[in-house]
């Protein structure tokens, strides 16, 4: 019996050596461990052994069966692994090729800039507001302290529908509308389309502005400076600085022009900033108390700051776009650059 066990054990090892496919391995499993397999036969022969040796021999046959099972299993795993690798090796693809799939689209670059700037101010508690584009003279001019004979009306040409209704020339027109409806404290930005009759490489008869307005007690020029510094750093780079220059807008007093240190040359002077190191981007100031009064807000108690910027200009500076008209041609090759 011992002899037989040993012989079977060797035979299994020998057969497995040549078995290089899962089918052959299975044949071996059937041959030795199947119903009529050689190991199974040993169990059947056990009753021909003397009864006192049966437990011991039984134990030996059991060990044999476990050993055979393990050997087959191990070999089987090895072969299976080899076969998988072989299959993978055959599945080669040229990864430099691509399949034609639908690619994502994109927001228009102007709306991307509006979104980016809006998010900077949303982070500071600003709400986003909107107003009509076809606007009353009152909101676009008069309530902003620009009465009918005001000289600054001449500088700013306007598209008129009739004497009283016009296409808004500035998003500042939203200021008084919001102040009439909502009580301070107010922090709002108003992005939107505005219209002026100019048409060349740096002027479009329709363009976009973002107006900002803060109304509360104790608002000062220092707050304005901080807000604009923060905007400049967030939108351009952490190195960008702002410079305030005195200027004039009827709806702010004091009024300032805001220059940003040139993003291209970092203030050293280049063609974008015409050698000055500074780029004019915003108009701003402390809200003229007259405007607060027009909106029904007590200018003794409240003060405010306001700023406005051209979106096209902000986009042209950031992306180096040379001609404003590109934004309105909507050429797919242009749009695709801003995914």
């Amino acid at each position: 019996m011992h002899e037989q066990i040993k012989k079977i054990s060797l035979a299994v090892m020998e057969k497995l050596k040549d078995a290089d496919s899962l089918n052959l391995i299975n044949d071996i499993r059937v041959k030795f461990l199947g119903k009529n397999g050689e190991v199974t036969a040993l169990f059947k022969n056990l009753k021909s052994c003397p009864p006192d040796q049966r437990p011991k021999i039984g134990q030996l046959i059991n060990d044999l069966r476990n050993q055979v099972e393990l050997a087959i299993k191990e070999h089987e795993n090895k072969v299976a692994e080899r076969e998988k690798n072989k299959k993978l090796a055959q599945e080669t693809l040229d990864i430099t090729l691509s399949k034609k799939t639908r690619k994502v689209g994109a927001l228009h670059p102007l709306n991307q800039v509006i979104e980016e700037i809006s998010q900077i101010f949303i982070g500071l508690g600003f709400a986003v507001k909107d107003g009509p584009e076809i606007e009353l003279d009152y909101y676009n001019f008069e309530a902003l302290n620009i009465p009918a004979d005001h000289p600054s009306r001449d500088e700013q040409d306007t598209f008129y529908i009739n004497d009283n209704i016009l296409l808004r020339t500035q998003t500042s027109a939203v200021q008084v509308r919001i102040m009439e409806k909502e009580a301070p404290p107010l922090r709002i930005i108003c992005p939107g389309k505005v219209y002026r009759p100019d048409d060349d490489a740096s002027h479009s008869p329709i363009f976009h502005q973002i107006e900002g307005l803060v109304i509360d007690k104790n608002i000062t020029l220092c707050d304005l400076k901080a807000l604009l510094d923060n905007f400049a750093r967030s939108y351009f780079s952490s190195q960008t600085k702002t410079r305030l220059r005195p200027s004039y807008f009827p709806f702010t007093e004091p009024s300032v022009e805001v220059d940003l240190s040139c993003a291209i040359c970092n203030g050293k002077g280049c063609s974008l900033c015409k050698g000055t190191g500074w780029i004019e981007l915003l108009g701003a100031g402390i809200v003229n108390p007259r405007v607060l009064e027009y909106a029904g807000i007590d200018s003794k108690e409240y003060s405010g700051l306001a700023f406005g910027m051209g979106v096209e200009r902000a986009a042209m500076i950031k992306y180096g776009i040379p001609d404003i008209r590109l934004f309105y041609e909507n050429d797919y090759r242009f749009l695709k650059q801003y995914r």
Binding site: R102, H108, P132, L227, Y248
Partner: protein, 795 residues
């Protein structure tokens, strides 16, 4: 405004260079648009001595001149008759530029190379008064002691530097040399020297010879006049001519030049007329009669209306107030006695008249910007000073000064704290006082309180914010230190629900490969024809712009589809043939026309697809995805829209309301755009979606049990919409029908004529247990039975 630095120096000492001066002006609120060096106008013209003159062998009228520039000889071919050997003359070398911008190059004259050209006074833009000999018709002969090889600008004194300063509309008081000098004095800490206003007078009194009747104080708040006799008309001296030319005004004669000189120097427009031509010895300031005519100094006849203010004698207009004098009354060689007018005309009246008659002048431009009350007197006296100083006239005593009232001094009561509260920094009391004093504000200080009397020329100063601006623009904006809303209350910011929904819609569109476009809000009225709109279509009721840039941009669009098709077409013609575009913008819908109240501005989403793989279903798929994400259920109903294919268009209907449409563009419309590609379009009301969207539905439990799928291939009539079969499946599917979709539609050889085969995939699932075959079979049978009502059966 052009400001020669030499002129500024009449009123304030300047010991810094032009760049430092510019920086100081920028920092106090004056934008410098440019620094102009007068010498740049004339380039590469030098002095040289004529050493030899020989006749040109090939040309009778030309001479070959040898000139010596101090180092070498040059050859100049010249036709000038007034030169002789030994003369020193200005020579324009190769690449020279003359005063009128003309370029001079070396050139051959009949076979002989000329290195340049000898110049006349006119070519250097100098007159006899400015440089002796410059007035003759020929080459300018320079004095014998002129150094050779010298830049001609140096010799003729053409060396001024001019600042081109942008004056903001609130600072009309700085629209003059004196006004800028006043600011320069403040920012450089120098003292302002006032112009000399003195002159001698003769015994005759203007009031004896002239009466002024001002009938309209509203449009003419002040009318001053002085008279002078024994007037001599001649050329102005060099300094006046030079300065006028430097600021772009052509010198004419001493009287005209003086009025222009004072206009630039003091900022007060003046007008001089010939006294003896005035009928009735009087001047009437009145509204013109409708149809009254005047021939102005520009030689053109203007017809006035009652909306124009006129300066008249007893009979007719002498001048269009503040704009231009009449030709008849103008100063001429025979003028011996003059009236000089110095008035303040209302800016809107001048602007209106100037626009109406389409004339502009230096004078009208000043009045349109607004001038102050005091400059009438200063300007008038300055002019008389000049007339007297140069001996050009004898000034009569007395003055006519017609004004309704004295100007009231404006005072502002405030505190130092109030000024600092605007600034946000603490500027000391002393500095505030110093700055306001330097700006000629008269102060009374009592502890923290401050009473400020505003100089009469500062009509822009109204309150404490203006004073704060005066302080900080002189103190310096670099002193403003950032403080991020430290004393302000926090606010709830961010986007509102509608704005967030809009963002979501756009992100869905982007994920479907759609690019956003931005188009003009105004379009051509021809767009209605291009879209083949019916004559009664309300979309034709577009708002017209009264002053458009052109017909193509003259009406506010009532939908976005025209712009979308145009954008697609322009892309296709540029070779961009596969495109998905969208625009979200306003359509402007008037409540009535002509507009008497603000129109409705409706937000619309417009989609436009073109390309080989696009069809009606691809655009519909994107629309369905948006609406499904917004949880708005819709039906698609065949629609009849002028610019859409009659069999490929659908209204999008939600809750019985049409909220948009989609379809293929009608071939006839495409013909109008000259394009032969199929274009798919959709327009949907964004307002409806944003208002009616549901951001999420209530939670629905998910079944843990396996589903069963069944495919049904059904033969049905070609004209029966699949939607009818889908509805029957829904209504007969019972509780266990989980979903149903169409995965194939076929018509052709395999199915009978007039029929189509539609394949549905149905999924069944029970919430609480595994389904049994029989249950599903029973439902399928119900569905098939119901199909008989639409003549559909299993294939």
């Amino acid at each position: 405004m052009k400001v020669p630095i030499s002129w500024l120096k009449d009123f304030v000492e300047i010991d810094i260079d032009e760049h430092q001066l510019s920086d100081k002006l920028v920092n106090c609120g004056f934008e410098i648009e440019g620094i102009i060096y007068l010498k740049d106008r004339i380039q590469n013209v030098i002095t040289a001595k004529i050493t030899k003159i020989q006749p040109h062998p090939q040309a009778d009228k030309l001479n070959i001149c040898t000139v010596f520039d101090g180092e070498k000889d040059l050859t100049i071919i010249s036709a000038a008759p007034n030169i002789k050997e030994g003369d020193i003359v200005p020579v324009a070398l190769d690449n020279a530029v003359l005063a009128d911008g003309k370029k001079i190059n070396a050139a051959e004259f009949r076979g002989i190379l000329s290195h340049g050209m000898m110049c006349s006074g006119a070519e250097l833009d100098i007159s006899e008064e400015e440089f002796q000999g410059a007035g003759i018709d020929g080459v300018l002969i320079l004095p014998k002691d002129t150094p050779l090889g010298e830049d001609i600008n140096k010799i003729i004194g053409n060396d001024d530097i001019i600042l081109d300063i942008a004056i903001t509309t609130n600072r009309q008081d700085c629209n003059s040399i004196l006004g800028i000098a006043r600011e320069v004095a403040v920012v450089t800490g120098k003292k302002l020297k006032m112009p000399d206003l003195s002159y001698k007078e003769i015994d005759q009194d203007i009031n004896d010879i002239l009466k002024v009747e001002n009938e309209n104080f509203k449009l003419c708040s002040r009318y001053m006049a002085k008279a002078a006799i024994d007037v001599k008309i001649e050329k102005s001296p060099a300094i006046i001519q030079k300065r006028l030319k430097a600021v772009g005004i052509r010198p004419i004669n001493n009287l005209v030049d003086v009025t222009n000189y004072v206009l630039i120097e003091i900022g007060q427009p003046l007008h001089a007329f010939d006294y003896k031509l005035l009928k009735g010895g009087k001047i009437v300031v009145r509204e013109a009669l409708d149809g009254e005519k005047i021939t102005a100094l520009d030689g053109k006849e203007y017809t006035l209306t009652s909306k124009n203010l006129a300066i008249c004698d007893e009979e007719k207009p002498v001048a269009i107030a503040g704009i231009m004098g009449g030709e008849y009354f103008s100063i001429n060689q025979d003028t011996s006695s003059i009236v000089v007018e110095s008035a303040n005309f209302a800016r809107d009246s001048v602007r209106h008249t100037s626009k109406q008659l389409n004339i502009r002048s230096e004078s009208s431009q000043r009045f349109e910007k607004g001038i102050d009350f005091l400059s009438q007197e200063v300007g008038l006296n300055r002019a008389l000073h000049l007339l007297d100083k140069y001996g050009w006239a004898k000034v009569m005593k007395g003055v006519i000064d017609s004004k309704q009232r004295e100007i009231e001094k404006q005072t502002i009561q405030t505190t130092f704290d109030a000024i600092n509260k605007v600034l946000g920094i603490n500027v000391s009391k002393e500095i505030i006082v110093d700055i306001l004093n330097s700006l000629e504000f008269v102060l009374q200080v009592k502890d923290h309180e401050l009473t400020v009397e505003v100089p009469s020329y500062r009509i822009d100063i109204e309150g404490v914010n203006d004073l704060a601006e005066e302080v900080i623009r002189i103190y310096g904006y670099s002193n403003i230190l950032p403080s991020m809303l430290e004393n302000a209350r926090m606010t709830q910011g961010g986007k509102n629900t509608e704005q967030k929904r809009m963002d979501k819609i756009k992100s869905i569109l982007i994920s479907h490969g759609v690019y956003e476009i931005v188009n003009y809000s105004f379009i051509s009225p021809k767009s209605f024809e291009m879209l083949n709109l019916n004559k009664q279509n309300p979309l034709r009721d577009a708002i017209k712009i009264s002053n458009p840039l052109g017909l193509d941009m003259s009406v506010m669009r009532t939908n976005l589809v025209y712009s979308m098709i145009k954008t697609l077409v322009s892309n296709i013609t540029r070779g961009n043939k596969t495109l998905r575009l969208f625009e979200v913008a306003k359509a402007y819908i008037p409540k009535s026309l002509p507009l008497n109240e603000l129109p409705q501005e409706k937000s619309i989403l417009c989609l436009g697809f073109v390309g080989e793989n696009e069809d009606l279903y691809s655009i519909k798929g994107v629309v369905e995805d948006i609406l499904a994400t917004m949880n708005i259920s819709c039906e698609y109903i065949r629609a009849d829209i002028e610019y859409l294919h009659p069999n490929r268009a659908a209204d999008i209907v939600a809750n019985g309301k049409t909220i948009g449409y989609l379809g293929e563009v009608h071939p006839k419309t495409l013909e109008n755009f000259d394009i032969d590609k199929r274009i798919y379009i959709a327009e949907i009301s964004v307002d409806y979606i944003l208002e009616n969207a549901l951001d999420f539905k209530p939670f629905k439990a998910i079944s843990r049990y396996q589903n069963m799928e069944r495919d049904l291939a059904v033969i049905m009539d070609i004209d029966t919409p699949v939607k009818e079969a889908l509805d029957l499946i829904q209504t007969n599917g019972g509780d266990i029908l989980e979903s149903c979709e169409v995965f194939d539609v076929y018509q052709g050889e395999q199915v009978p004529k007039g029929k189509k085969s539609v394949a549905f995939k149905l999924s069944f699932r029970h919430f609480e247990r595994t389904l049994k075959e029989e249950e599903v079979n029973a439902v399928i049978n119900n569905i098939l039975t119901a199909f008989k009502t639409i003549n559909a059966e299993l294939r």
